[in-house]
Amino acid sequence: MSTVINEPAVDVVCLGVGYMSGVVATELALQNYKVVGITKGPYWDYVNDFSMTKYDEWGVGLGRKYDSPLPLQTTTIRNNSSQFALPVRRYTMPIQYHALGHGVGGAAQHYGGTMGRQGPWGYQMLSRTNQDLGVTPLTTPLPSSINPQDDTHDWPLTYEQYEKYYVAWENAHGLCGNYNGSPTNSSTDQYSQKYPWMSQNYRLPPHPLTPVAQMFQTATQAMGYNPFPHVSSLASQPYTNSYGVTVNPCVYDGYCGGPCDYACETGAKANAAYRTIPAAMKTNNFTLVTNAYIYRLDYDTTNNQVTAARYYDAQGNIHVQPAAVFFNGMWGYNMIRIMLLSGVGVPYQYNSGTGTGTGTVGRGLTNGYLPFNGTNVSGTLSIGGNSYAAGNGSGGSVDIYDLMDDNFDHTGQNFIGGSQIGMGGYLGGGPGNITFAGGVGGPSSSNPNGSMGSAFKAKQQNKYLPKTVGVGATRFAPDLPTFMNYVDLDPHYTDAYGDPVSRLTYDWTPNTYNGAIGLVQKCKDILTKMGAQNITVGNAVNPGGAHNDWWGHHLRGGCRIGSDPSFAVYSGYNQLFLSPTSGVNYFGAGEITNTTGDTVPSGTHVAGPQSYRAAEGIAKYLNNIKLGGSVNYLAA
């Protein structure tokens, strides 16, 4: 029998201590609330833990020694509900290198550092599409020609309403970039503030552009597009953030994002551990509990309150941690899993016969990352460079948003939205010795002997010293929420403690592939304008032509926010609904709470404003409790 330890009650418990909990914990600790943050991993001190050992593709990049151990917990994957879901047994290269994060900072310890705001259209995807199509009411689901079993909904807030929270996030994390749409970083040039508009600029200047990025910028400007440097969360300059935490700039060692995803040994890569949590700890109102595995939330069904979080420490003792409010900052499927295990919220259940579903927790899973395979446009430029470890995971390139969202005419197209298009990232964003852009493989048309023998070996000679560079784009339109993609508990596999792991039922929606096909000509035009040679359209993939076999590292949706509790788990303040007018003392934020996503690569930035909304909602809730208000207060 394990010892049970009852911890003293606090105001707020944060589950997980990554990006989201970092913000919530800091905001509330600064308001003199007592906060406890619980994480299954350690506290990383980047100087002591990373600086001597991170330059190690085998141990760090492939072995994932700084990430969540799979024997502790994994997830299972299947494409549809008639299938048996297989567990992810292994972190492998090249396809599924993205590991679940571990410890303070979570997955942001090892990601590429890309950020980018979601545009106004992304927040009102359904109503604006219906408006364009002349469909009423504006809440009508999308036709199955665009998205079968559609479950797309608008967000509870518009971009305009989220804008100030983006600002707060950017002030805290020190993002680098120019005004969206402005290559000259001016708020008043003809390009600036086009899309999406910004009330203030990014805090830090962008990283130096590569020659390829400059060619892309020149070409797209000439074509009437609005290029601007890629938004990065890797500090380009010394920075002191809005919490007084000092940030070291990137040293461009090139062991960063890209194929291998490394932790940052100077703290330049934005992360709760180096941006928010230090300020929380400095207040003396925050307690950090590490190596602690949360396995249940105690839920009082009479009053509809979460009363405590339960976790195992590393010796196997059980701790019961009560609080007035609970914030779930756990990553992706883990947020859903703990709710399903604990009976918090209404579980989603899919009915394959009718092609619909009821309930909310686990509903509407989309994959924010791009499918591995799609109709691709490519060419070569006759300039070279250094593609060994030089640069970082998110700088150097230039983007346009003109072929995204509803920024272009979709007449005659069978997809909605579009894609961010960018080129010119630093060639070396992380050693890819084992990746070879696709990994080792068997015989194919390009490599008759596969990755074996003298001919293939010769292709590897000096491959990090290219004299020409390839450029290209596989431009997918957004993956849309459906009834048939969801998260639930797996009936066959458990974690190390004997509780079921999560199960992802997911396959790519047609919109992604139709967008890739639909944007081919426009991508070709850009490459032509850049002067690329050998422009080819290859690898044509139609919807259903490829199936998902990885869990993806940007799961968006599955535990969504919305104004309507019939599909949404959380309200506009990221608080769990009981009904449209009452809620639970439980909040959550993360990419998994995104209602939809356009294809700005990092839904993390889209989750950012939600963490500030959650912090605001929690403060309102606690204030309401102080004034003797109802425990089922839904923050408004």
């Binding site: 600086s51 190690d56 593709e57 085998w58 492939l62 072995g63 799979l70 024997p71 994994t74 994957i77 299947r78 509900s81 048996f84 297989l86 567990p87 992810v88 047994r89 292994r90 492998t92 290269m93 396809i95 599924q96 590569t210 009976g343 579980p347 259940q349 009915n351 300039i383 070279g384 460079g385 250094n386 060994y388 030089a390 150097g396 010795n433 990994g439 080792v440 493989g441 068997g442 015989p443 002997n449 990755s451 074996m452 023998g453 003298s454 590897q460 000679q461 000096n462 990090y464 010293l465 004299k467 639930d488 508990l489 009936p491 066959h492 596999y493 079921p500 199936h547 076999d549 990885w550």
Partner: protein, 339 residues
């Protein structure tokens, strides 16, 4: 840092001092001439350490591969990355030692893998005439969710609590409906109950060395004895799943009945290239010949040997600059004050 007398430093104009110090990394300031003796001792100690390290760099023993595995793996890796006119190959890089150490360590132990049952093999057809029924029982208590307001519902969209039978693929029974076509190398592809050391053991034996092994049956002898053309072809055969995993007659079946040959080919190829290109600390890429071949820098960010380059220019260059690579061990030694 050349020292001045204390009295004079204030007069120097600290801008000069500041710019000189800025160029260096971390320094331990020496106190001038009276410590040249100490410096000499340090130099001598560093030389001895370097010599010792050179000796240790020659790794010639095995801790995991048995004798027959050693000769087979040696031949395999040298087929995958041959030593040829373009440069050194798996032999010079010591790829076999990387593989040997990895098999003995976390990789072989599948230490960071999820190894629980049930093991449903996605791509292995069941042998004809054999029905392997995998029974999975969803009626465990946690498979039922506590619904708000009390009562239970079954996880995953309804269904009964009766055990479910999954059977293998054969001529009369449709294929197990599992996730379609996990790609080789995908994290859901490896579903074997064996850890990777056992997987290699089974795969190597299935590939060559016994009468029923693939190389012996298809090409007439152990892999090491084949012509180099046949060696490459035999490996390609693994990728194309030529060795039978089911049998129509009792003679068809090779040792690959429980292992998909292409999965084994993946491990062989992937680990060979890893042995060529991972940090020398792990036993391969000896003397960094692999990195030298592909033009990789290791931990040399432009100035490790005093070349005077910096990342900021290297990352926006339009012509490549080859850097002599540096290893993690060299980096750690340099960072902690060794030579």
């Amino acid at each position: 840092m050349v020292s001045q007398t204390r009295r004079e430093f204030l007069k120097l104009g600290l801008a000069a001092a500041a710019s000189a110090a800025a160029a260096s990394g971390i320094e331990i300031p020496l106190l001038g001439n009276q410590n040249s003796n100490l410096q000499n001792q340090l130099d001598s100690a560093n030389t001895q350490v370097t010599n010792l390290k050179t000796k240790l760099n020659t790794v010639t023993g095995f801790v995991s591969l048995n004798i027959s595995e050693q000769s087979l793996v040696e031949a395999v890796v040298e087929t995958i990355i041959p030593s040829d006119s373009t440069g050194p190959g798996a032999k010079e890089a010591g790829v076999i030692y990387f593989i040997d150490r990895a098999l003995a360590g976390d990789y072989g132990q599948s230490a960071n893998m999820f190894m629980d049952a049930p093991h449903v093999l996605p791509n292995i057809p069941a042998a004809t005439g054999i029905s392997t029924t995998l029974m999975v029982n969803p009626s465990l208590s946690w498979a039922f969710l506590l619904a708000p307001g009390g009562g239970y519902s079954v996880a995953g969209g309804g269904g009964s609590s009766a055990p479910k039978a999954y059977t293998g693929n054969n001529a009369t029974t449709p294929k197990i409906p599992i996730t379609a076509n996990p790609r080789v190398g995908s994290g859901i592809n490896y579903q074997y109950w064996m850890n990777l050391r056992e997987f290699w053991r089974a795969g190597l034996v299935a590939f060559s060395g016994t009468a029923k092994s693939y190389s012996n049956k298809a090409y007439g002898g152990n892999f090491e004895t084949l012509s180099s053309t046949n060696q490459l072809q035999a490996l390609k055969d693994l990728w194309s799943n030529a060795p039978k995993t089911t049998y129509a007659t009792s003679d068809d079946l090779t040792g690959f009945s429980n292992i998909l040959p292409s999965d084994f080919a993946y491990e062989l190829t992937f680990m060979t290239w890893a042995g060529f290109l991972m940090d020398p600390l792990y036993g391969g890429n000896q003397n960094m010949v692999g990195w030298d071949y592909v033009g990789f820098n290791g931990v040399n960010f432009g100035n490790f040997y005093g070349e005077g380059f910096n990342q900021q220019t290297l990352m926006v260059a339009t012509t490549p600059t080859k850097l002599k690579p540096a290893s993690l061990a060299q980096y750690q030694q340099a960072a902690t004050g060794g030579t």
